[in-house]
Symmetry: C2
Subunit: 540 residues, 2 copies
């Protein structure tokens, strides 16, 4: 029953930088195996499409005086304008971002990359940027998939990429309150390794875990694969320190309070538009004694989803709870451990695969495992044992690597996600699938899983694979728009855990209304009077 920590939360403190046109650590890339390659050839054909060899960056437009001022603030080593560094801070890791990078399009490169070493230096950079009217784009892990790292220059005097890699300390651990204060530049594995030295963990494992940063988790309202048990990132945050152009904000005097609105929830999800998060205090937990991940088979997606609802509404959620629809389950059976959820199953053919993960003390896991099993069996599930769970755990962070391999052979792959109430789940699923299939045409695979579950509803995470053709970006953008329209028509959220960025801006008002947008504009205007903070993201 015991199982080592998942592969990726390794104690390595300094992964290599991600390549500009691909995801992740090249040494971790599993590569497209023989059987998968054969499957892809059968489905889509192989049309090798390497990244452009020749790449030219637009020259830095940083004024010499500005460079001198930044160097005076931060020291010369913390101010970089060379092409290699600027290229690595250009855009994020959405498929459109990667496609543009692969084509050699680096128009969105920042003029300069600066690396402050502490909160005060961040504060100084913001004061300088406000005075000089220079855009500031905070850069944590660089894993945005919604265009969160593309500054709109407008009439500003330049674009600074504010690399938070210099702020990566564990500042404090409070073992009594079970909290820890982390700096924003810490990546997922680094944060977990530092906490593990105290026998603690954060337990936040989005698919971007290897590279995504603490600050990014907070700024984008991230949710991880253990959200059922440990909560979304916003639920884990008890305190924040934020640098803004008008001064510092510290929030979180108590676990919960009634002293007015909860302003933490205004900075969580603010995507660098209201300020730069420089410290995050989170709830931590003891490292689990036991981790068990099991597979369950369901006759269909709806039956499995109803079982998830039953668990959530009985306060019986396990740590991890995921359900692939029939298509995703079939693909995973055909190509074990790879696409989408990265699952494998020695399962009955057809139907749907669910992963149920439990972590904690031996006694707590045993008790909940029995209670969960009772519900799942009563609702028509068939246990598949730990094999599918182990396969899922092994492949849990592999999706983005596989996407690169598919882009290499001309297959367009992208994901999108949404969330809704249980009573609206079937409609949302049907409508988004239909919109994607109608836009992308025959030969398109649309896969879906539910990976975040609440008492009142759940997320839906779609993976799309389709022949890329001559201009995959031109194929994808209308499909994304069609899916987004279907989502807002169904009354669902435009994003469950990927933030607004620039890509989702057109649909934000559908969720919060024009008055809601005005509230964001008012906060932005007060905190960022010069409009230099990540201009273009979040606010329409």
């Amino acid at each position: 029953m015991e199982r080592p920590l998942p592969a990726a939360p390794s104690p390595e403190r300094h992964q290599p930088e991600m390549p500009p046109t691909r995801w992740g650590d090249p040494d971790h890339a599993p590569g497209l195996g023989e059987s998968a390659r054969a499957l892809v050839e059968l489905a889509f054909g192989l049309h090798p499409r390497p990244a452009a060899a020749e790449v030219e960056l637009p020259p830095s437009r940083l004024a010499p005086a500005h460079r001198e001022q930044l160097e005076a603030l931060l020291g010369p080593d913390a101010v970089r304008t060379d092409d290699a560094v600027r290229r690595l801070r250009t855009r994020g890791k959405s498929t459109p971002d990667l496609l543009r990078q692969r084509e050699g399009d680096l128009d969105d490169a920042p003029d300069v990359v600066v690396r402050p070493g502490d909160h005060d230096q961040v504060q100084q950079v913001l004061a300088w940027a406000t005075r000089e009217r220079v855009a500031v784009v905070p850069f944590g892990g660089g894993t945005s998939v919604t265009g969160g790292l593309v500054a709109h220059r407008g009439d500003l005097a330049g674009v600074v990429s504010l690399d938070l890699g210099g702020l990566r300390r564990l500042i404090a651990v409070d073992p009594v309150a079970s909290t820890a204060t982390l700096e924003p530049g810490l990546r997922g594995p680094e944060a977990e390794a530092l906490l593990a030295e105290h026998g603690l963990m954060l337990g936040h494992y989005p698919q971007s875990f290897e590279y995504a940063s603490i600050g990014g988790f907070a700024a984008t309202r991230s949710s991880g694969q253990s959200s059922a048990g440990y909560g979304r990132f916003d639920a884990l945050v008890v305190g924040l320190r934020v640098a803004t152009p008008v001064g510092e904000v510290r929030l979180g005097t108590a676990p919960a309070d009634a002293a007015g609105p909860d302003l933490r929830q205004l900075f969580l999800g603010s995507e660098g538009a209201f300020g730069v998060i420089t410290e995050v205090t989170v709830r931590v937990r003891p490292l689990p004694q036991v981790r068990v991940y099991e597979g369950w088979h369901w006759p269909d997606f709806t039956t499995g989803a109803e079982a998830m609802r039953a668990l959530a509404q009985s306060d019986l959620l396990p740590t991890v709870l995921r359900l692939s629809d029939e298509s995703e389950t079939a693909i995973n059976l055909a190509d074990p451990g790879r696409v989408g959820a990265g699952q494998e199953a020695a399962a009955p053919s057809g139907g749907c695969l669910m992963i149920v993960g439990l972590e904690g003390t031996e006694a707590a896991v045993a008790a909940k495992r029995a209670a969960v099993r009772d519900v799942l069996e009563a609702m028509g599930g068939t246990p598949l044992g730990e094999g599918p769970g182990a396969a899922w755990a092994e492949g849990r962070f592999a999706g983005p690597y596989l996407r690169d391999d598919l882009l290499d052979v001309g297959v367009l792959v992208e994901t999108l996600e949404t969330a809704t109430f249980w009573s609206n789940r079937e409609r949302l699923y049907r409508d988004v699938r239909a919109a994607l299939e109608a836009e992308l045409g025959e030969g398109t695979l649309v896969l879906c899983h539910i990976s975040h579950v609440y008492p009142t509803g759940c997320s839906l995470y779609f993976t799309v694979a389709t022949p890329g053709g001559g201009d995959p970006l031109a194929r994808w953008l209308p499909a994304k728009a069609a899916a987004s329209e279907a989502i807002v028509r169904a009354g669902a959220s435009i994003t469950h855990h990927h933030a607004v960025g620039t890509d989702h801006r057109p649909w934000l008002a559908a969720g919060i209304g024009e008055v809601g947008v005005e509230v964001l504009r008012a906060v932005k205007a007060r905190l960022d009077p010069a409009g230099v903070l990540n201009p273009g993201v979040l606010i329409p």
Copy 2:
């Protein structure tokens, strides 16, 4: 093991209005029994202090044209300026509020009480008030204990009490998503009775439950006696509809999302300063099959608190979890079922009484009861059986009635509450007690209980009783200030579940900083450009 619903969630849909100088329904007032009276006489002496017989309201300053305009909007029956109605909408139910009312001081009476019947009428009143520069004070249950119902007139043309008693429908129930949409004027028992017709409950039971309203729960970030199991009110809210002077806001497209900041958390706790909440969509649950409330004895407050922490950090929280300190436990033993937590115990003398309540299905309650018992026994608790639990459940809403009886005999009684992280609990407890005792002098009783528990910390709820003397208000205000100073010096929250109102405004900036206050001002200015919404509350 089965137990009927607690006494107060009765199906009565229309309780009588509260008297202007007292709490609650006169028919529910338990009265000061003989033994309690003797105890009070011994401790404080009896100094009968009836409310003033002669009361004069300041004349309504409503301009005749304004009256005509309001009547045109709402109909003549919904616009009232008679003294009786205005008196019942003057201030809330804090001890200072009651003392002022008892003295016949009604200076803060509104000029007119209006009672819109739906969202659109609320919207129209706000547009009118903005145009005519008239203050609007939303009135739900009238149970504020922080001065939330006292409009600062400034140079505005008058004060309207916006009585939400005309909005008290259950608008929708979604049994699949387990949500319900409620109007803000519904009081606690009414809302529960309407939901019970569907086999559902909200499960939010603050001590003010009999009179407090759904809108008030939301506007003040309320927390109820079952918060350990069912969550604070803000955690129960999935959607809001808010009328503001610049238009309507609807929030809550999904159980959770990442589409920017969570604006629901900006309106929760906004105390009528940003808009008027006209619909609240909440998570609901099936009515429990079983309710068990038990007593546990602890040798001291710290040992009991550590056991609470262990439960919270093991994800083993029962539905109700409360712990009285040694003083509160002793008082309850001396005067069963009355003061503060209203507890009784056939307990070992000395030490501290804990109440552990479990609600749910028979199987779930049995499983958790066993797990909780294991932890509590291992940590040094002694089970006292269901007697103390039944006494607590019986007296759970009695505190405010008892306060009136004590004020009648010249005893000054008031409560205040705060919250902090577990590692700061002892300091906060010690410092607040010391501040109150130093300010109020000998013969002052300071009682405390923990009634809201989180993985990272807890609330502390203090009850103070002291001889009122000739001017009890003048005695109380410096003590409240001293306690508030001690709270903010200890880095704790100025209020865990009673909102800012006007009383806590001086200490708000200690919690959210000057930049945090600027954020609130910016939102207020955008949504309420004329500054007519509950002026004087929340924002320093």
